[in-house]
Subunit: 363 residues, 2 copies
């Protein structure tokens, strides 16, 4: 297989190394960083140089491919042992999003699928698998975009959160992919971009993407979302997801839950967009999803500048859980799931992944 991801800018494989667009430098600088080892990849994920659940999954798969090349063992059993340790180290980087686990587990299936392959052959198969995951991610996002855009009327004012575009995926995006598809279909969406504290993925990344695509949008502070909803200026909310429990509870960027409560209070459709690989059928509901706590400095500092007094404690949960009863629909690559999600998500999971057909689950 050729370097399937080579045309993408968020991340691409290039001659034995993984190149990542450093998202901490955006929007001011488009700087690629180079990962030559699995530790480089783990660091890039941990420090959020690359972020977004699908992109983290793909980066993790490439990290495993890099790790496989670092293992000196020529004995398959020892190789396997070390490879699993590397997968485990990569998995520790961010605990909430499930796509990383999904991608690593999928990559590790080469061990079973090629039981008699040499260590060298396994290294190649692991890289092929990373390429395949990257390649499929784009098709997956395109399918999400098609399904989601079908829900939208012309001229809708859509509020979105965090960054769920090209930068959060290999290319195109999930929630932002829906908005892009609607835009490409001439539906003229208008976007409210929540800045998304503390990391400002909305202000820095989604704004950057919208300007590139020529989609009209306005940046707002997260706390202004309710104001615009109360004035009848928001027709739909579309967000991504880092993990969706089997019952449809959604873990996503901190603040998503507040938007969902506000959406319900204003009877605004609250749409979650994610690849089916984000649905974790092993997690029955949201209470079982681990919520990553990040460094307080992300709250007390902004863009490298300390804004709070020294010694002021801060709490920095990176995600929250939106209960399924606040979710109007979950748009996946396999179709749109409606409540009750425990049934509709399971139904979608039985159909082949990545398909763009209109396989909706009836309400």
């Amino acid at each position: 297989m050729t370097d399937a991801a080579s045309s993408y800018s968020t991340l691409r494989w290039d001659n034995g190394r993984l190149l990542l667009l450093d998202q901490t430098a955006l929007p001011d600088e488009e700087r690629m960083i180079e990962c030559r080892s699995y530790r480089d990849v783990a660091d890039a994920i941990r420090t959020m140089k690359i972020r977004g659940a699908p992109a983290i999954g793909v980066a993790g798969a490439y990290g495993l491919a890099l790790g496989a090349r670092e293992i000196a063992a020529r004995d398959r059993e020892e190789f396997t042992r070390q490879l699993r340790a590397i997968a485990s180290a990569l998995l520790q980087t961010r605990p909430t999003a499930v796509n990383l686990r999904w991608a690593l587990e999928r990559a590790l299936t080469v061990l079973d699928r090629f039981p008699s392959a040499t260590v060298d052959a396994l290294r190649d198969r692991l890289l092929d698998e990373a390429h395949a995951i990257a390649h499929e991610d784009v098709a997956t996002n395109r399918a999400i975009g098609e399904h989601g855009a079908s829900l939208m009327a012309p001229g809708e004012r859509v509020l979105t959160y965090c960054n769920t575009g090209s930068l959060a995926t290999v290319d195109y995006g999930t929630a932002l992919g829906i908005i892009r598809t609607a835009h490409e279909r001439g539906k003229r969406p208008l976007v409210y971009v929540c800045e998304t504290r503390p990391y400002l993925q909305g202000a820095r990344l989604t704004s950057w993407e919208l300007l590139r695509y020529g989609i009209p949008g306005s940046l707002i502070t997260d706390n202004a979302a309710g104001y615009f909803m109360s004035r009848g200026q928001v027709d739909r909310i579309i967000v991504g997801a880092d993990r969706i429990a089997a019952n449809g509870d959604v873990a996503n960027k901190i603040g998503t839950y507040s938007l969902a409560v506000l959406a319900r209070a204003h009877e605004i459709p609250f749409i979650v967009a994610a690849p089916l690989s984000t649905v974790d059928f092993r997690t029955p509901d949201g209470t079982a999803i681990p919520i990553e706590e990040r460094r307080p400095e992300e709250v007390t500092h902004l863009a490298g500048v300390r804004v709070a007094p020294e010694r002021m404690p801060a709490l920095n949960p990176a995600f929250d859980v939106t209960p399924n009863h606040l979710v109007t629909a979950i748009v996946t690559d396999a179709g749109i799931a409606y409540p009750p999600f425990s049934h509709s998500l399971a139904d979608l999971a039985k159909v082949p992944l990545g398909g763009a057909g209109d396989r909706r689950v009836a309400r």
Copy 2:
């Protein structure tokens, strides 16, 4: 009357000039700025070097006293005409908070109260009135603190918003004054401080005050408030107000409305604290309250650093309106108002202002 406000740090009159603690420099630097003209005061209010509805009111009264000294006219009629123009200019600085209008109108009553006073005497009376407003503000806040703290149980975890402490008033504070009183009474409140984008009054100012008073608190991003509520970690929300309509609708810092919706969803008491001078009986309900739109740069930049891409539009409403049905109680200096507020607020307004007695209005 002596310089009643001279012992306060937020603002004080000193030998013909108004000294203000520059709140844009906090928490890093405690820098006083000097206002020698009403234009200096207007600029300080407009640029938020001084902010907080009660503090703006007092600053406005001192600004009028400064303006009175700038008027060259010795003819009382011409003096009055120019004085009213200065009051009008000061009133334009911030449209939402009503305390500024209240303080200016109160100061202008000296014209009627001293119909035969000379221009020189009127200048003295205007300064006396500013001193009186400043002096009463502290007593008012102490009364709010006593009334509000009576609602609180020991060990309550209180979420607060923006800055409503000493820095928002002449001294002590409104919503934060309640928390301070509870702390001084040994009730050991624990505080969640919302950072309050875009201006970060919570991160910069409320954090700074809590550290000075030794009240334990944690800074959170505004979008994390719902998360902590959903986990049962918030017992009460206490916020200030910039204007309260006759029916109890509350205009306050952008994001207050979202907190109120979340409070209702989690059955958490939502308390508004403000001097009775914040109640605008001429405004029947919240729809009539003008919402100030501030510069988009406050959203696209943070602490002087641009965070969003150039050319990204931003919307920056500075306030929102919380409808009365989401408000549990309004704590004033004259007592606590409960729904229906159109009755309870009017009842409170009939009692003398500034009193600290326990004149509650029955539920």
